[in-house]
């Protein structure tokens, strides 16, 4: 047998063994057996000295080819075995992915605060600042400055909790606007503010009345603010909050602190204006009141009504929340039933 034949035989025998190896240990033994110091290939190469000088490179090259072939075969088989082992391990690690995930605690912001923050964000985007004011107010800012002198019939519309004759629980957020008008320095730019907060009325609590609720009012005062600006601002805010597909209707109304005064209706989102129980079959839902700031309000704050003017608006946050989520009893906001509160976990944001 020539050396060549010997090498070929070694190659054939070992290739078969490598491919049949079933684990890494066995493969390693084959590797040591075929490529180690005592391996047949090494023996062959040792026998090269007996060859003719001109045959040596040819046989040497052939031996190296055989060796390289076996090394590659071992590497390939090793990779294949490793892959197989990993596959087995992963198969073993298989989980029921439909089991529930480990819960993470989470609380829910109160639905009224969600509505309030949504509105705050809409108006901040238009350059409005947020002013908080006082829950305990004086009569001067709550009524007098807002063109509601003592004995004004409009005071009857707001039953008031008094602490003394002059100090009371604010009945609306308008005193914020009066205070801002008093304090604002117009050389620093226009007034653009909203005032959201808690207000109080001397009412008996029932499904539609609460002695405590939330309102948001706002005002813009500058040298040239128009009723068209009021319309555009409210349209933007209403579309942001209630959806861009709402139709908006402006109606004349009356508030002591604005002239002209308007009330704003949106097309009913329940029936889309066809008429249903939600809109009392009118197709419209009243959402807020507004108007151009009454000159008497400006004068009461020592603002020159010939130079400055603007608009104001007010809305009920509880009412917005009731409309948006179909809540029918205002007392639910203040009873704090966890089942009620946790419904509003912000999934629609």
């Amino acid at each position: 047998m020539t050396l060549r034949d010997t090498l070929r035989t070694i190659n054939d025998q070992n290739l078969a063994k490598i491919q049949q190896a079933t684990n890494l240990k066995e493969l390693n033994e084959i590797r040591v057996g075929v490529l180690g110091k005592k391996s047949p290939i090494t023996n062959v190469l040792r026998g090269m000295k007996d060859l003719k000088k001109e045959d040596r490179p040819v046989v040497g090259q052939f031996a190296n080819e055989i060796r390289d072939g076996l090394v590659t075969a071992i590497d390939n088989q090793k990779a294949a075995l490793e892959q197989k082992r990993l596959d087995q391990k992963l198969a073993h690690e298989k989980l029921d992915v439909t089991l529930p995930g480990t819960p993470v605690v989470d609380g829910t912001p109160h639905v009224l605060m969600q509505v309030m923050e949504d509105l705050e964000d809409v108006f901040m985007g238009m350059g409005f600042q947020i002013v908080r004011g006082y829950e305990v107010e004086d009569e001067h800012h709550n009524f007098e400055m807002l063109n509601m002198p003592k004995d004004h019939p409009a005071r009857d519309m707001q039953d008031t909790f008094y602490i003394t004759q002059d100090v009371l629980m604010r009945t609306h957020m308008s005193p914020n606007e009066a205070r801002e008008l008093e304090e604002h320095d117009f050389s620093e730019g226009p007034i653009k503010m909203i005032g959201p907060g808690k207000v109080y009325r001397r009412d008996t609590d029932d499904a539609t009345h609460s002695h405590q609720f939330f309102q948001m009012e706002g005002q813009v005062i500058d040298k040239h603010i128009t009723m068209a600006d009021l319309k555009g601002t409210l349209e933007y805010a209403i579309h942001s909050f209630f959806g861009a597909d709402r139709e908006i209707r402006f109606r004349p109304s009356y508030f002591p602190f604005t002239e002209p005064s308007i009330e704003v209706d949106i097309s009913c989102f329940n029936c889309n204006g066809k008429g249903c129980a939600v809109c009392k079959y009118t197709g419209w839902i009243e959402v807020l009141g507004a108007g151009m700031t009454h000159p008497n309000v400006l004068k009461a704050a020592h603002v020159d009504a010939d130079v400055y003017g603007g608009f104001a608006f007010g809305l009920g946050i509880d009412r917005f929340a009731m409309l948006k989520y179909g809540i029918t009893d205002i007392r639910q906001f203040y009873q704090n039933d966890i089942r009620f509160l946790s419904q509003f976990n912000g999934e629609d944001k």
Binding site: E135, D151, F161, K192
Partner: protein, 803 residues
Amino acid sequence: MKVSYQWLQEYLPVKATPAELADNESRTGLEVTDVKVPADGLKKIVVGHVLECVPHPNSDHLHICQVDIGEDEPTQIICGAPNVAAGQYVIVALPSARIAGNVKIKKGKMRGEASNGMLCALQEIGFPESVVPKEFVNGIYVFPNAETPGDSVFPLLGMDDAILDYDITPNRADCMSMRGVAWETGAMYNEVPTFKEPELTEGTTPIADLLTAAVNDEKDAPSYQLRVLQNVDIKPSPLWLQIRLWNAGIRPINNIVDVTNYIMLTYGQPMHAFDYDKLQSDKILVRRAHDGESLTTLDGNDHDLTEEDIVITDGTKPVALAGVMGGLATEITADTKNVVLESALFQPTLVRKTAQRYNLRSEASSRFEKGINTATINEALDAAAALMNQFAGGEVAQGHLSASSIEPLSVGIDISIDRINHVLGTALDVPTVLGIFKQLGFPTHESDGLFSVSIPPRRWDIHIDADLIEEVARIYGYDNLPSTLPTGDMTLGHLTRKQQEIRGTRRYLESAGLTEAISYSLTTAEKAQQFTLTDSALTKLDFPMTQDHAYLRQNLITGLLEDLAYNLARKQNDVAFYEQGRVFLKEDDATIRPDEVEYVAGAFTGLVRQRNWNQTKEAVDFYYAKGVVDGLLKQYHLAAPVRYEAVQKPEMHPGRTAAIYVGDVYVGFVGEVHPETAKAYEVKTTYVFELNLDLVLAQDRQKVVSQPTAKFPAVTRDVALQVAKEVTNEQIMDVITKNGGRFLTSVKLFDVYAGEKIAHGEKSLAYTLTYQNAKATLTEDEVNKAFAKVVDHLESDLDAKIR
């Protein structure tokens, strides 16, 4: 104000349907909240003529009636009304008729006798009882005149009319009259209403021979006019007049009283009629009531009067509360022969206060409160006298008495086209605006874009240019205004630092598993003063609605405990709430306005983790609540360290409550609610915390400066030590940190043990100490030395046994 569509048509042609009119008016002037046709939903209700009426043989109250309903043969109907009688023209609901309440009438038998329909009371065809004439309240309605049997009753009773319910805003009291509504409708549709005054024929007796009148203070009654009618015949008013009243929601009474109401509806001028013969003298005096005087009003109630009431007196005593309600003693009755008729203007605020004081809000008082048309005080008086004369006969005395009077004046307002466009954001031209003023019926002179507008007295709500701009805007149409956003100097819309931090506080607590609650700020004195952080006087409402909501809260926890109790009562046992809001604090009772301080509080009860397929359940405990607070305080990057100190508070568990300090500033507490308190609130074991958020936010903050991440490895050493039970973690931490050396970067407690394996009265704690040098690798020797020093001090300072 209920407005009759048919009546309105008398003053001007209205082409719009009632529904269209309602919508147009809502968009232009006043909201019309409802449009109702009384006959809607009713059918087969006709006039019947009762030909024969005999008692039912098997009943003590039923009658068998033979009724002509316009057919060849009379029909038999059984009727139980006490007032049914032969000869009457009545309302018949035929078989298969629909009457009020969607009730269907069927043929039937009543105690053996056939009944083919029903004779109806007005209430049965939908009239509210409050407008049914008294004589028909307890029986069927009987037409005053012969009608054609078989005809529908709807047109005969005004039920085919459409009634529009106008929601009158306080400034538009001019529309509390049909004439005002006619002007308003005319302005909207560009039509001029026309009004016919009834013709007054005076008799020969001069009024001065019968009566004198005086007003003490013309400020109380700026206009006071009287007429006298003699020898009237009191009877029901003609049906057309009764229809107008009941469709406006007013009960017809008799021809004199009905005319006063009809004139009020027509002109908006409240009228009053006295029985002349019941006056104690022929001198009428309008003055303030004297203390001690009293009056029984028409409704039969007695009132002790005050000097704030304007009264009409007959020279001796009050006979009416001016503008509010007449007295019972001088009421018009069936026997009245001679009538004194009053048309006046009274001081609005006094009328309003009197009406409020005696709970006597009336159609008259609500008009006087909001103002009346000063131009028609006398016109209304004359029209009333003419109609009374027409309906009740007799004679109108010659002339009228005028104890005070005012000149109705038009108000002049100058306004420019530029001003109008400046406020509205429009580009209206002069002819458009002139057209609007013409529609409104305001005489206007224009020159160079400047309008001089004359406002007639019927629109007493318009005083200033803003009022006039509103008129232009609404007639032009709010829907037609452009829609723009404010221009001018830019403003920045952003949260203030405090607003941001409050929002951040809320977000943190929500992510820590607490749901936000909003409780009532008004509470009881006891609850207001529990769980407080500082001593404060109470702020009390002067006139609370209920004792439960009479004081301003000084803490947030009591509200949360009530919320927890509400949930527990509904089997919601595992609840974590927080509330962020204001408490109201003041130094002493002499201070009136409290400080409004932002607080945040939390309350936990039951499980903070439910049993789960891969987790055990976990109930809230002190350390859980403390952990939430700790995490919250970390949010603020406070400069001073946060410290907890055992504290005693009356409502809190004596051994499980910690006061919270930022540096040396006491900012709140955390702990378990005292079991007695919990019981009183009907809650189970509950942990709470409360922080003065304003105070926390006012503390100095750390400036966060980035440190390079350590390049050299840290080395740790664990130490377990056994100490007396009284030794606190804080004491041990103090010893470790004080003696840790400059490379000690953190100390972490990882085990606490007290129990069988440890001597009684002792406990074991174990800490991991981490050492690191930012500039070099620490050597074993450096660490060992530093660690040994800590161990030495633990042994010497705290008598600790190192394990």
